[in-house]
Symmetry: C2
Subunit: 189 residues, 2 copies
C-alpha cells in the first residue's frame, strides 16, 4: 500500500507568539523531531508564514510553500493532498506534535484496513493525531475551507467507517504555548 | 480544459555563474517576468539550489522546493507533474525564458487539439519552449531521470502525435550567460 505523509507546518503559532517549530527540545528543533517520526515514509512538508526561517532546516525535504496560509489549515491540506492524489492513503501530521512515537505511526498504518475511511489514534478514550485519511476521502477533503482540518470531514462519517487504534499519550500532545515546551520537555528524554 | 503551468526554476545556472533568475531586466527580476507571462494560469514554481534568494520573490506563488535539484531537471519536472496529475495538460515553462509572449502561450493552448500528445512552439523552423504536454504523456514523463527535460520523451513520438505552432522569437531565447542579459535586454522594451 502506498501511504504518504503530509506534515503541516504553515501555522502562525499565534498562541505561542511566534514560530514554535524552530524552538528546540533537547537541542533539536520541533519541526525536525516531528519529521524524524516519519523517517520511513515519503513525505511533504507544507510551510507558510515562516518560510524564511524553516527552509534552512528543510533542505533535504520536499517542501510546498502555501501562499494561502493566511486562509487557514484547510489550504495547506488541500495543496498537500494534490501531491498524493494516486496514493491509497495520507497521514496528516501536525508539525507541532513531536511526541507521537514511531510505534504509534506503525499502529496507525497497521490499523488501515479496507473498511477504514480513516484511522484515528486514541489515548485514554480521547481522539488524537496524526489521522490517516483513505483515498476515498480525498475528494471530500478538497471541499474544506478556512482554518479547519480533517475533523470536519471525519465528523460526518459513520462510526463503522472509522478505525481507531490505541496509541501513546503523544498523539494528544501539541506544542501550543511556550509553557508546553517546558511542560513536555521531560516527557521523551 | 484544465491546463496547469510548471515553472522550472531549480537550475544551478552554471554557465551564468550564479542565480540568473534574480538578475533584472528593466528593474524586474527574470523570474518575475517569466511568472507574469503565465498570469492567467494556475501554476507552480519549482525551486532548488537558490531557494533562499528566490523565496522572498515568490510569496504569492505556490512553490515546491525540490531537494533532489542536484540530480537535474527531470526531478523538478516529476515533482511538479504530481501536482497536476488530474489535469488535461501541463505547460512546462523554463524560468530563464522571459521573452516568451502571452500571445505565444495563447497560441500554444489554442493549438492543443485532442490528437496532440504535445504542443511545441516553433520559430523560423526551430523548436522552442514552453512545451505543452498532454496527460497521456504524464506516465512516460515519470520515467525520465537525470538532467533532461521533456525532449527525451517528445523525441520518441511520431510526428503526427506532435502539434506545432508558429510563435515569436521569444520561444527560442533563454538567458544562459551574463552576455545574454545585455544582448536581449532591448528585445522587449
Amino acid at each position: 500500500m502506498n501511504i504518504g505523509v503530509l506534515i503541516l507546518a504553515a501555522g502562525e503559532g499565534k498562541r505561542f507568539g511566534g514560530n514554535k517549530l524552530i524552538a528546540k527540545i533537547d537541542d533539536t528543533p520541533i519541526i525536525i523531531r516531528t519529521i524524524r517520526i516519519y523517517d520511513n515514509f515519503e513525505k511533504v512538508v507544507v510551510i507558510g508564514k515562516y518560510v524564511n526561517e524553516l527552509i534552512p532546516l528543510l533542505t533535504d525535504q520536499i517542501v510546498i510553500y502555501n501562499p494561502f496560509w493566511r486562509e487557514g489549515m484547510s489550504t495547506s491540506i488541500k495543496l498537500g493532498l494534490r501531491f498524493f492524489r494516486n496514493y491509497d492513503g495520507v497521514i496528516i501530521a501536525l508539525a507541532d506534535m513531536p511526541f507521537v512515537s514511531k510505534e504509534d505511526v506503525k499502529k496507525i498504518v497497521d490499523g488501515f484496513k479496507p473498511k477504514c475511511k480513516a484511522v484515528i489514534p486514541v489515548h485514554n478514550g480521547k481522539r488524537g493525531n496524526p489521522v490517516l485519511i483513505s483515498k476515498y476521502l480525498f475528494e471530500e477533503m478538497e471541499k474544506i475551507s478556512g482554518d479547519v482540518g480533517a475533523r470536519v470531514i471525519l465528523n460526518k462519517l459513520k462510526e463503522d467507517e472509522l478505525c481507531f487504534v490505541e496509541c501513546s499519550e503523544g498523539v494528544l500532545i501539541d506544542i501550543d504555548k511556550k509553557d508546553d515546551l517546558m511542560r513536555f520537555r521531560d516527557l521523551h528524554p
